[in-house]
């Protein structure tokens, strides 16, 4: 590729050189000059020139021009408000027009103090209003969903929010209704804006028209601190700011990592933080004192109790991990159990494999791809939501995105090897494979395919395995960094250590708990572990931790403690407990990380994992064909049931009333052929039966399903076996 042509543009008498085609707003910025904007936001697609705030004088043009829709051309001479009276008058005029119907209620507006309209009015606006006539008035605020409030009086109709809905998230739900001065932002018939990325419109809004119901009247900008950290609710690890006030998290904002999240955030990540204050949050250690009864213990008592449980098990210990632990926490636990007690048996949250490290790319590469093949049975948005936005961006840029059939053999691997698709995978440039679903063995079979296709040597080609948990890979790295012995489950299990609420909610872990003589659980919430744990130690959240996570790309990212947990954190008491077993364990994440890093991350220093983490380089695959054959599909009668864990589920989401409307519909997806055969009509309620359990679900037809398969969100499939009967 040849270097882009460089052009020279003069802005307010300052010459600046930029690549040809650079936006004029960015060109001015390169010259150190700000052109004010409201509607302009490059992440929303081509500029629309609507708000007219960016009017500038361009020599040779008959009238002032909107800078946002112009690009740098060689020899262009531009005058902004700083050197052109006409441009200054134009900006002043636009601010006056915008303010004509704006209520100027800044003192009671959440946006006050961090509001572009307020700032620009201060810098360019008129000192006095010339409007003496009535302003437009609307009913307000209107809840456009349980999480977002709309104030139509404050709205300046910049259309950022509707463009996001239409052309980024492509959910088509937030619209402008009516025309001209009567235009308003709305949803269809005022139904809730129910879509996984809805909250981004709050941050896009350049005024206080779209506000977070969680944050309304909670803080003023001068009272808050923004802590740069990483979301811990899915394997993407979106970079976020946790806004805190007086030791409490008040909101989560996107913190643009261009390679990871592009500055977007899903609603689970944005609105999920109030689980910190759930009413069943465990603040003190608990000991079971009778059926369904627990007593609070002091920490000294609790450590005595824990020590007792650990010693009594005589090494017959199994540890179940959640995948939400930090690398450091998982390592601390591993070091205590493995080095101190020789307890090597673990139930890791998911399969991991280093094989895909050979085909590593940033997530942002998806947007530049020519061909993307998505394999596996889970909807991408449910598993790693931001990846869904990258895929949409790819499609808009002209990429072909192929989704293999749901329920296909080997998750679709076979069809990706077939003549037609296989040939295209070989032929296209910038080709990507994405595995979204169970049975992917940490990406090993996908790596074999990528190796066959020669992806290691082809630039822009790569493969992603979308894990189930936020840090499953990091937890596995940490577990094996502590010791390298391997061990099956002891018989009988003397003690089951359950780390985290996700593990506590896992049916496999529950089954183990029934076999175990004793259970020690580390948990944030009481409901998942009561009544079956004997000792419960309080857990913490990703927002309360310092440490590292390894995300879907294999990128190590840094979590920073936004607020102190309401109890000692895991590292503090694990260090003490380890001391009782003669294990030297630091309570400091930096120290623990270095111990892991020496084994697993080439000695990378903790301080290097910065606020915007880089992607490690590719690591050649050790041998081709890593990863065994895919597990056999169980045989049975009726339709094979495919379940997936929905995005809006899990211990955090369950505790947030305002997110309940986002939980999945009680639906069963069927192939049109099966539906016809079973005489099931789309939209009708059907009964889905197996193992003597019957669930009433609404039928939805999905042409992407193979015949003989039914798909249901896991929370609506409780009690159902591997095969189900569906009847009208």
């Amino acid at each position: 590729m040849s270097a882009p042509e460089v052009v020279t543009v003069a802005i307010d008498g300052r010459e600046v050189q930029v690549p040809k085609g650079t936006g004029l707003v960015e060109t001015a910025l390169a010259a150190g000059i700000e052109i004010p904007v409201f509607c302009y936001e490059p992440r929303l697609g081509p500029a629309i020139g609507a708000c007219r705030m960016c009017l500038v004088e361009v020599e040779g043009a008959p009238k002032v021009q909107a800078a946002c829709v112009l690009t740098a051309q060689d020899g262009m001479v531009v005058h902004t408000a700083q050197s052109s009276a006409e441009a200054a008058e134009s900006q002043n005029a636009m601010l006056e027009f915008i303010l004509v119907n704006h209520p100027l209620d800044c003192p009671v507006c959440d946006k006050g103090g961090e509001c572009p309209l307020q700032d620009l009015t201060f810098r360019w606006g008129p000192g006095a209003s010339r409007l003496t006539l009535p302003k437009r008035t609307f009913e307000k605020p209107i809840p456009i969903s349980p999480t977002i409030a709309l104030d139509r009086e404050r709205c300046i109709l910049c259309y950022r929010c509707t463009r996001f809905s239409e052309s980024v998230a492509e959910d088509g739900q937030l619209i402008a209704r009516n025309r001209g001065a009567q235009s308003v932002i709305a949803t269809f018939e005022d139904e809730p804006y129910r879509a996984p990325f809805s909250g981004n419109v709050i941050e896009l809004c350049p005024v206080g028209a779209l506000t977070s119901t969680q944050y309304r009247f909670e803080a003023r900008p001068w009272e808050i601190q923004n802590v740069p950290t990483v979301c811990g609710l899915c394997p993407v690890g979106c970079n976020v700011h946790a806004t805190t006030r007086e030791g409490k998290v008040k909101r989560i904002l996107a913190r643009n990592h261009p390679e990871v999240d592009g500055g977007w955030l899903c609603d689970k990540g944005r609105f999920g933080f109030t689980h910190l204050r759930a009413d069943d949050r465990i603040l003190d250690p608990l000991r079971r004192s009778g059926p369904r009864r627990y007593e609070e213990l002091s920490w000294d008592e609790a450590l005595d109790e824990a020590e007792g449980l650990l010693r009594a098990a005589q090494g017959k210990i199994v540890t179940a991990l959640s995948g939400s632990e930090t690398v450091e926490e998982a390592y601390a636990l591993a070091k205590l159990l493995r080095r101190g007690l020789g307890a090597h048996s673990a139930l890791l949250p998911e399969d991991v494999s280093p094989a895909l490290d050979a085909f590593r790319l940033p997530l942002s590469a998806i947007a530049e791809a020519q061909l993307v093949v998505v394999l596996g049975d889970d909807p991408v948005a449910e598993r790693a939501p931001i990846v869904d936005l990258w895929l949409r961006a790819a499609r808009r840029a002209g990429a072909e995105v192929v989704t293999t059939e749901i329920g296909a053999p080997e998750g679709g691997l076979a069809s990706a090897r077939e003549d037609d698709l296989g040939a295209r995978l070989r032929a296209a440039e910038r080709t990507l494979l994405i595995w979204s679903g169970p049975g992917g063995q940490g990406g090993a079979p996908l790596a074999s395919l990528a190796a066959e296709l020669g992806f290691a040597e082809r630039p822009g080609c790569g493969a992603f395995y979308l894990p189930e948990t936020a840090n499953g890979r990091g937890v596995a790295d940490a577990w094996s960094a502590a010791a390298d012995e391997d061990e099956g489950n002891p018989e009988p299990i003397g003690l089951l250590v359950v780390s985290g609420d996700e593990a506590a909610a896992n049916p496999d872990v529950r089954a183990l708990a029934e076999q175990a003589e004793r259970v020690l659980a580390i948990s944030m919430f009481r409901r998942p572990v009561a009544p079956w744990a004997h000792l419960v130690l309080p857990g913490t959240s990703y927002l309360e931790r310092d440490g590292t996570y390894v995300n879907v790309e294999g990128r190590l990212q840094r979590l920073r403690r936004a607020v102190l947990p309401p109890c000692p954190d895991e590292l503090a008491w694990l260090a003490k407990l380890a001391g009782r077993f003669g294990v030297e364990l630091s309570p400091y994440p930096s120290q623990l990380f270095e111990e892991v890093s020496a084994v697993a991350y080439d000695g990378l220093a903790y301080g290097v994992v910065g606020e915007q983490a880089p992607l490690p380089g590719r690591v050649p695959m050790r041998e081709a064909g890593e990863g065994g054959p895919a597990p056999r599909k169980p045989a049975g009668k009726g339709l094979r049931l495919v379940t997936y864990r929905p995005l809006f589920s899990g211990p955090a989401v369950e505790r947030i009333p305002e997110l309940q409307f986002q939980r999945p519909e009680a639906e069963v997806e069927l192939s049109p052929q099966d539906a016809r055969r079973l005489k099931v009509e789309a939209g009708r309620t059907v009964s889905v039966r197996s193992n003597g359990t019957s669930v009433q679900l609404r039928a939805r037809l999905n042409g992407k399903l193979v015949r003989g398969v039914a798909r249901v969100a896991a929370e609506h499939a409780r009690g159902l076996g591997t095969h189900v009967d569906v009847a009208p």
Partner: protein, 438 residues
């Protein structure tokens, strides 16, 4: 002055909405001739003719054609879109052309399609023109049945009531199934138009002139004169005039000839008060500007625009504040709501004009009207913002005394006797307003 009509030629004598009648006067031979020519030669003929667009902006059609990328260059199909969304108040010529010479119009579309190698022609006709839609549809069916379309698909697409869709980029948005809001330009339609593909978009009369140029040759048409904008124009004459209607005349007919000789003058012994020479948007002329020739350049030299050649005659019974208010309410109603100055400015101007008409305005409000106009002018995304300003600011400038009397006398000097007294504008009733009273 009594030159032969071109676009409407033959329509008085025959029912040219019928294919056989149109063919009897040589219809569709120009298409046959064009199809035998290299597309570049067709564009050359039209360029030689110096045919200027009759939709309002007067852009040379030949230049527009030559800007359209060919499909093989663009890697995309090309499209012809006919702008039949005639909505400028005072304008009704396209309606007459479509009703009376639909085949000539269709033939022009097909010749243009050949010129840019387009396989699709869309005629976007305003939704209110139901009778004309039916005539066109019938004519298109006849042409299709007669094999005249060849491999071209012709779709007559109805609008649904939005003035802004006469703006070409808004029309394209609307045709794509979206809200009819203008796009920033560049890119212009010849580069990126319908479905982001190269698109020729022209007014009905412009396209209906194309077969005539092909038939007689570009030079013949250019020689009709006047030099920079030859040919005829269909003047739409309306308002306080004895014989309103469409008159196809040579460009350059003076307003006096049009109003008095053709239109029979102002009826009822009333005095001429104002002339709006190009549809409701353009700056007004006072009676002493009546000898201006009504062609693109002369009208512009006199400070207004020929626009769609819709001439509205206003007699001395009309209150100019009421006229301004009525016009401004139209632009407020039709503002698409996309850009700030037009959306907010038109509403503010309506409020100010209401205040003046009601007699509550002070001296400062007159200046404020001018200031608000200045702050919209040249700053909006499309021309609608300018339209909303040209009319009102010219009324205030040229009839300042009358506005002043509203302020001085605390009310309308016509005392309820203006011909426009109490005229109701639809702006308050059409939308389902979310607005609630303060």
């Amino acid at each position: 002055m009594a030159a032969e009509p071109l676009v409407l030629a033959g329509a008085d004598e025959r029912d040219l909405a019928r294919l056989d009648e149109y063919r009897a006067i040589g219809g569709y031979t120009a298409l046959e001739k064009a199809r035998a020519m290299d597309p570049r030669a067709v564009i050359e003929e039209i360029s030689t003719a110096t045919l200027r667009g009759r939709g309002g902006a007067g852009f040379p059609m030949g230049r527009k054609l030559s800007l359209v990328q060919r499909p093989e260059q663009a890697g995309k199909p090309t499209y012809v879109v006919a702008n039949a969304d005639e909505s400028e108040p005072g304008s009704f010529k396209d309606r007459e052309i479509m009703r009376r010479v639909p085949h000539r119009f269709i033939e022009g579309c097909l010749i243009s399609a050949h010129a840019i190698a387009a396989k699709h022609v869309f005629i976007y006709i305003r939704g209110e023109y139901l009778a004309e839609f039916e005539v066109l549809k019938r004519a298109a069916d006849e042409a299709r049945d007669a094999g005249l379309l060849g491999d071209v698909t012709l779709v007559v697409h109805r609008g649904a009531g939005a003035y802004i869709c006469g703006e070409e980029s808004a029309l394209l948005e609307s045709l794509e199934g979206k809200r009819g809001q203008p796009r920033p330009r560049p890119p212009f339609p010849p580069v990126s138009g319908l479905y982001a593909s190269p698109t020729l978009i022209n007014n009905v009369q412009t396209l209906a002139t194309v077969p005539i140029i092909l038939e007689h040759g570009g030079q013949w048409y250019a020689d009709l004169g006047p030099e920079r904008s030859p040919g005829t124009v269909v003047y739409s004459l309306s308002g306080n005039v004895a014989r309103p209607g469409n008159y196809e005349l040579p460009l350059g007919t003076t307003l006096r000839e049009l109003i008095y000789d053709v239109g029979g003058g102002v009826p009822g012994g009333r005095q001429l008060k104002a002339i709006i020479p190009g549809g409701s948007s353009v700056p007004v002329f006072t009676p002493d500007e009546i000898d201006t020739p009504a062609d693109f350049d002369s009208i512009q030299a006199a400070g207004s625009f020929l626009g769609s050649a819709a001439v509205i005659v206003v007699d001395d019974r009309a209150c100019m504040v009421q006229l301004g208010l009525r016009a401004e309410k139209f632009y407020m109603h039709e503002s698409c709501g996309k850009c700030t100055p037009c959306r907010e400015g038109t509403r503010w101007l309506v409020q100010l004009l209401e205040k003046i008409e009601e007699g509550h305005a002070g001296q400062a409000d007159l200046d404020l009207v001018i200031s608000v106009c200045d702050r919209i002018l040249g700053k909006s995304l499309c021309a609608l913002g300018d339209f909303a300003v040209w009319c009102v600011s010219s009324y205030l400038e040229k009839y300042r005394d009358e506005f002043q009397r509203h302020v001085d006398e605390g009310g309308c000097p016509f005392g309820g006797e203006s011909s426009l007294e109490g005229v109701f504008a639809p702006v308050d009733t059409h939308a389902r307003p979310a607005e609630v009273p303060a």
